[in-house]
């Protein structure tokens, strides 16, 4: 988020805290895509994502007076949304798959890579537009991650939360968060590599 956006948010926030509804609506309009996107990625349900977005902004409004502005407004609502999404997933008691099902690189008995990477596709990450087929392959691979790994990967690498925030939200230690993140990244890297093998 740019400094200008944060500055604008602060002005809107001050007006909203003084009771200006239109300022609060402007804040919602600025952040609704991000909040909805987080909720949809986490729950994979449009209905749940819409409800989580509503609950998040309602909760933000109800606690506006307590928000002192140490963090950016966007980060604050992002954390509320992440907590709401995690609580909903906990209620749904989605069965987690054991991590042994996660894909990753294979090694020889001597610990060498059994199969070198298909090609160095790292520069594709700099392209403005993402290949549509690759986008679908990534979506499928992310959906296939065991829940505990998907949550951590999304919260860290997509939503940009800190290890400490994720540890607190998910209820596991920081080293466990890092371990899950690494395994998830390896599985997704494998899926992208497989995509480039096929094209």
């Amino acid at each position: 988020m740019t400094d200008v956006t944060v500055q604008d948010d602060r002005e809107l926030l001050a007006r909203a805290q003084a009771g200006d509804m239109s300022a609060f609506e402007a804040l919602v309009a600025r952040h609704e895509d991000k909040v909805y996107g987080l909720a949809l990625r986490m729950t994979r349900s449009e209905a749940d994502a819409a409800e989580i977005t509503q609950d998040t902004f309602l909760s933000a409004y109800q606690h506006l007076a307590e928000f002192r502005g140490e963090a950016a407004f966007g980060s604050w609502v992002h954390r509320i949304a992440a907590n709401n999404a995690l609580m909903r997933l906990r209620r749904q008691k989605v069965l987690d798959i054991v991590s042994d099902d996660l894909a990753g690189p294979e090694f020889t008995d001597r610990g060498s890579l059994a199969e070198p990477p298909e090609s160095d596709w790292s520069r594709r990450a700099d392209d403005q537009l993402l290949d549509e087929e690759l986008g679908r392959a990534i979506q499928v691979a992310t959906d296939a991650l065991p829940k505990g790994y998907r949550e951590v990967f999304l919260l860290k690498d997509v939503e940009g939360l800190s290890y400490e925030e994720i540890s607190e939200m998910v209820g596991i230690s920081v080293p466990a968060v890092k371990s899950r993140l690494h395994r998830a990244r390896l599985a997704l890297r494998e899926a992208i590599d497989a995509f480039y093998k096929e094209v």
């Binding site: 509804m21 919602v28 895509d33 994502a49 977005t53 509503q54 309602l58 409004y61 690189p105 997509v158």
Partner: protein, 78 residues
């Protein structure tokens, strides 16, 4: 002396600058002599950015409309 598995297992602390100088030296020695691992590191680093792009979602206009109506109804009763 690190092999490919040791190197890949230590990628996250390496990229976050959390490795001990001794371990980092082991890793650098391995990477200097292992082009496949160098490519692996590059593609591992690129994975998050590609995923972020692939997973961007915008709120559909009808959902945004329902959100505004919901908030107005809730906040006007306060």
């Amino acid at each position: 002396m690190f092999n490919c598995k040791d190197s890949i297992d230590s990628l996250l602390p390496f990229l976050e600058g959390e490795m001990s100088p001794e371990e980092e030296e082991h890793l650098r020695v391995h990477l200097n002599g292992c082009p496949p691992c160098v490519e692996f590191v590059r593609t591992y680093r690129a994975t998050s950015g590609l995923c972020r792009k692939a997973l961007v979602k915008s709120m559909p206009p009808e959902v945004a409309g329902r959100l505004r109506a919901f908030l107005r109804a809730k906040l006007e009763t306060k």
